[in-house]
């Protein structure tokens, strides 16, 4: 059974991308948004003289944690339990959804309010709850836009990045019953409409569902960074709080937060600090607290020597914003809740490479390396992409071609014979190849074949001396 990552398409990336790049509106929206955030991030990062030191520390903390992940999860479980929280473990999406649905049902409620969370997108928690008769309301502005528009997220941080203000206004007018009839398209007005729409829901909410950016093993502390205050509403007001968190989100010590609280805000929203961060350890202020620890393919990623570094990811989305491929193709083309460069290495590892889509993702890159440069935990995304390309199953033609080339290159005598044959036939080689080879020569020239090989020339002339 393959790991589910909550997205509808099965077509390979090039087909999705070809469709996306013909959408002029999408390209304008993406270029504007990613251009804005790129410039701002560069400024925010340049302000810290020790950025590279923080980055090295962040990388090492995550690697050290992954090596001892079992110990730190057990320590986390003990700390959360000691402070009155309940810890649950889920092997996959179905198990996590079952646990959350059971916990909500036990409260007798049929509504939950949600903080933006990648992991609950990953496991399609909202749809699973709906099947159990529980309505899940997204409260992050961008998630709300996606939910009301019956759409799919296309960015890790700003899931509605593919929508501009005019489109958002239309979605609100169509799907938000209490939207004012004279709603304009200024971001301020749109945010105000969302505030009014969700206010009542927050005040009556009895169950909140969240993810977490970090979990501290030593103290059992969960950390949620956000901007709007919707996170604080969902974490603070309900009587029951359920947090679903991937097992790789743990860090060993309280002190480690001094690194990540600097790396994450500047990399993601390009601010010195995000407006609100909540930190809590176990059950606080009389709340009933449940933590669901999720594997869902992460232990398979951990087993891969090259690919395991993807588990260092803190979901800042800086790699999406600098990626020339993402900027043009948009997030939907990746067919996963994790788009962009990090998605191109995370999705095929979590989900396996059984479908044409998942096999195509490691190629959704020019290998320019901009993602590696901005990554706050120094994930060498290009190297993982290359490694995954080698692991992906290739087409029959390609495998035959490679086998033939391997056979020829394996012996100098074979190579020499092949080169002499090619030289003799050189005037019959067309400028454009026929059949499947045409895909290659559509964008490149066939390399000219010399009248004789270098080795033959050297032997004949003694290196040009004769």
């Amino acid at each position: 059974m393959s790991t589910f990552l909550g997205m509808p398409t099965d077509r390979p990336f090039p087909a999705n991308a070809a469709k996306a790049v013909r959408n002029a509106q999408l390209r304008v929206n993406l270029r504007k948004a990613t251009g804005t955030i790129r410039a701002r991030r560069a400024t925010a990062v340049a302000e810290l003289p020790d950025w590279q030191d923080l980055r090295s520390a962040g990388k090492a903390i995550k690697d050290h944690t992954l090596r001892h992940l079992d110990d730190y999860l057990i320590q986390l479980e003990e700390a959360v339990t000691a402070r009155g929280g309940h810890v649950h473990w889920a092997r996959d999406a179905a198990e996590a959804n079952r646990i959350v649905a059971g916990l909500v049902k036990a409260t007798g409620e049929t509504e939950v309010v949600k903080v933006k969370s990648m992991v609950t997108q990953e496991i399609s928690l909202n749809e699973a709850l709906e099947r159990e008769g529980i309505a899940a309301y997204e409260t992050d502005l961008a998630e709300l836009i996606v939910q009301l528009g019956d759409d799919w997220p296309s960015h890790i941080l700003v899931p509605a990045i593919h929508r501009n203000r005019a489109e958002i206004r239309e979605i609100f007018l169509r799907a938000m019953p209490d939207a004012p009839a004279d709603l304009g398209d200024q971001p301020r007005e749109l945010a105000e409409a969302a505030r009014r729409h969700l206010r009542e829901r927050f005040l009556r909410a009895k169950v909140g569902v969240s993810g977490a950016n970090f979990m501290v093993a030593e103290t059992g502390t969960l950390v949620v960074l956000e901007s709007e205050g919707n996170g604080r509403m969902c974490l603070t007001l309900p009587e029951t709080l359920i947090s679903v968190v991937g097992i790789e989100k743990v860090v060993p010590t309280w002190r480690d937060l001094e690194v990540f609280m600097q790396l994450l805000p500047r990399s993601s929203t390009a601010e010195r600090m995000n407006p609100y961060t909540s930190m809590w350890s176990g059950a606080v202020e009389g709340q009933d607290f449940h933590l669901v620890l999720l594997d869902n393919g992460r232990t398979s990623v951990l087993a891969d020597q090259v690919g395991r570094q993807a588990l260092r990811c803190i979901r800042c989305s800086a790699c999406l914003n600098v990626c020339p491929v993402y900027e043009r193709a948009g997030g939907h083309a990746y067919g996963s809740v994790y788009p962009g460069p990090i998605g191109a290495i995370l999705t095929p590892q979590l989900r396996g490479m059984d479908t044409p889509l998942d096999r195509s993702l490691p190629y959704a890159s020019t290998l320019c390396g901009a993602c590696y440069e901005v990554c706050p935990v120094a994930i060498d995304i290009p190297s993982v992409l290359v490694d995954l390309r080698a692991k992906a199953r290739h087409s029959r033609m390609e495998r035959l071609g490679m086998a033939a080339a391997g056979w020829i290159f394996n012996r100098p005598s074979r190579l020499a014979r092949a080169q002499r044959t090619a030289s003799r036939l050189r005037r019959f080689v067309p400028r454009r190849l026929p059949g499947p080879g045409a895909a290659w020569t559509d964008t490149r020239d066939v390399p000219p074949i010399p009248p004789e090989s270098f080795r033959d020339w050297w032997t004949r002339t003694h290196g040009g001396a004769r």
Binding site: T36, D50, D53, L54, S56, A57, A60, D63, H64, R67, H68, L69, D70, L73, I74, W89, A90, E95, T139, L141, I145, V158, A160, I161, N164, I168, P187, A191, A194, L198, L203, T219, S227, E228, G229, N230, R232, L237, I247, W254, R255, E258, M261, Q262, T269, E271, R272, M273, P275, Y276, S278, M279, W280, S281, E285, L293, D295, L302, Q305, R308
Partner: protein
């Protein structure tokens, strides 16, 4: 096998040969101790919050509340420990103010109906313009500074540290913590920052010089 045992066993098998690096902590763990108040106020203002720096907290707070309008302000338990005695006297001279105490606890709807909330804080960070509340005296539980639309936060100059690592060292993770950097905001529409979404739309900070 339980899910817990299954996951732990998979981790042990998977992580067996993984690298275990030393953690280099070459980054700054202490920032400059100079100009803490100036840097803090400048950076809070960058978030479009209002900041006052004063030795006369009572007057400044009273004036701020009068400017804000309304008269029903949430005042958490232990508030009297926040400004100094003279400040308290100046404030109580404001006959018009009704202090809503959280004892017995105010409901979310009570908080929604209040005109604002006045608190102290646990620590403030100059480099990032952040204030951190830890539910200690004069701060109250987390909802108090969330539901009302106006938050006035008093920071004593001695509570300001330079950098994030210094703040982490001063904070107690056993307490529920809220880090606040400006008023609530969103960048979800075209990465354009807009202040004022679900949290208090107005943040006013009063720094007391000692």
């Amino acid at each position: 096998m339980s899910a817990r045992e299954a996951i732990l066993a998979r981790i042990r098998a998977a992580a067996a040969g993984a690298p275990d690096p030393e953690i280099p902590r070459a980054y700054r763990t202490e920032g400059s101790a100079d100009d803490l108040v100036e840097r803090f106020t400048e950076r809070v203002r960058d978030y479009k919050a209002t900041v006052h720096v004063t030795a006369d907290a009572g007057t400044v707070i009273a004036e701020a509340l009068a400017r804000r309008g309304g008269r029903r302000f949430v005042v958490p338990g232990g508030w009297t420990a926040v400004p100094d005695a003279a400040g308290m006297a100046a404030m109580s001279a404001m006959a018009d103010m009704e202090a809503l105490t959280d004892d017995p606890p105010l409901s979310a709807r009570d908080l929604d109906a209040a005109d604002g909330v006045i608190t102290g804080c646990a620590v403030a960070i100059a480099e990032t313009g952040t204030i951190v509340l830890d539910a200690g005296p004069g701060q109250g539980r987390r909802a108090l500074t969330l539901v009302p639309d106006y938050h006035l936060c008093v920071v004593r100059a001695g509570q300001i540290v330079s950098s994030v690592p210094e703040a982490i060292a001063r904070l107690d993770p056993a307490r529920p913590l809220t880090w606040i950097s400006g008023s609530s905001a969103t960048s979800d529409i075209e990465f354009d920052r807009v202040e004022g979404v679900h949290g208090p739309r107005t943040l006013e900070v009063v720094v007391i010089l000692q």
